[in-house]
């Protein structure tokens, strides 16, 4: 297991594997999102309270879940990079941050659009939206810190410490905001029985599609990171010239 892991983490090997994985992930993501959208926008019945407006749920909820999942991935990768000095782990954190920031922005935008028919206004200081906004700030701080170093290794390690601080703080931020104020509806996706199957499966499709999309984009960005980090390595010249 450990040797397998080490082999995967070696840049030339990883570069090749990633190249093979990207098309598979992209196709699977595309198909799942298409199925999820068809199921969510056409097949699913309108909500008995919110009518057709609830359908933005199929973009909002997967984005929100991914925004947190990506942050967790980033922080775990950063911690691995810090503890075991694994360059590929730092690259995973670096490549994840912009993707996570976009998921967060999507969740905020769709949440705001959803809020218009539901609450009659584009923005309310609701607890979940506010923690999502703070999450966006955390991502922006991470990206800002990373970009202000000239030296890549320093950037890696300093931003890794920040990611770990952030993940420790996220629950604190989340619960303090929840106690502060909440009018958001509770989580319906993960509560059994809260949602009819016809409404639920497209959402799960979308979630899986978004996750695979993250995987595909992550690998594309990771290949870029590997090229940047190994730019003087001989194997890279061979691969690129070929």
């Amino acid at each position: 297991m450990w040797t397998w892991f080490h082999k995967l983490a070696s840049p030339p090997h990883f570069y090749r594997i990633a190249g093979l994985t990207i098309p598979a992930f992209s196709w699977a993501a595309g198909l799942l999102v298409a199925a999820g959208l068809y199921g969510g926008l056409v097949l699913a019945p309108p909500d008995y309270q919110q009518g057709e407006g609830f359908r933005i749920f199929y973009v909002h909820v997967p984005s929100a879940i991914l925004s947190m999942f990506v942050y967790a991935t980033m922080a775990i990768a950063a911690a691995i990079g810090l503890i075991w000095r694994m360059k590929l782990a730092h690259a995973v954190a670096a490549a994840s941050a912009p993707i996570g920031a976009w998921f967060t922005a999507c969740a905020l935008a769709t949440g705001s659009i959803w809020g218009k028919p539901m609450w009659g206004t584009w923005w309310v200081w609701d607890a979940r939206l506010t923690s999502e906004l703070i999450l966006l700030f955390l991502y922006l701080g991470y990206l800002g810190l990373r970009s202000s170093f000239d030296d890549l290794q320093r950037a890696d390690r300093a931003s890794a410490v920040l990611a770990v601080i952030g993940i420790v703080n996220l629950p604190v931020i989340h619960y303090s905001v929840v106690w502060w104020n909440s009018i958001h509806q509770g989580s319906t996706l993960l509560t059994p029985g809260a949602m009819p199957i016809a409404m639920k499966w497209p959402a799960l499709c979308m979630l899986a599609g978004f996750a695979l999309f993250y995987g595909a984009v992550l690998f594309v960005r990771l290949r870029g990171e590997v090229v940047r980090r190994e730019r003087s390595a001989a194997w890279l010249r061979e691969v690129l010239v070929k």
């Binding site: 030296d151 890549l152 730019r231 003087s232």
Partner: protein, 210 residues
Amino acid sequence: MQDSGRQTGLEARSVHAWRGDRHVIRGLSLRVTPGHCLHLAGPNGVGKTTLIRILAGLIRPEDGSVLWRGEAVGHDPDAFHADTAFLGHDNALKADLSPLENLAFWSALAGRPAAAVAATLGAFGLQACLGLPVRVLSAGQKRRVALARVALSGASLWLLDEPFTNLDTGGIRLVEAQLAQHLAAGGMAVVAAHQPVTPDQGEVRRMELS
């Protein structure tokens, strides 16, 4: 662990280090034993500072290891640092404090008696400016204060990066006298310098980096 030199001194084994994109130090090994001084020489940019910072434990080498008294430095860095005095390019002096106040702080951290501070500063020819703020001292005087900190530390290993910068000939002679005293007492030193290092006691080995 066969010979006593390994047990008592500083050793680096095939150390590698990168600075940014450059592979500055490639598989370098060295050893310093009590009473010995290692003089690191070589043109600018060959990695003298990097090497001395690796030995000090400020930079972790990409590969290879540094051993202190036969044990990897990473095992008990605090014990190693407690017995080491490092002088970098910067003097670690506060411009708003006097030499006396500056060194009183560092010797408190090193657990040395405060009474020795004034005497050591005197030995470095700084009697006249004990109470002046460091701000008004000349560059050479500041360097002397920083060197007095090393002499005060009571550490067995001195790591000096360009100690002679800004010093006049008198200052250089003072530093060499202190170094001789340190080596004679069984101390060790690694000195990166362009000038020759010639203390009249102890043994100096020159190592040309390239």
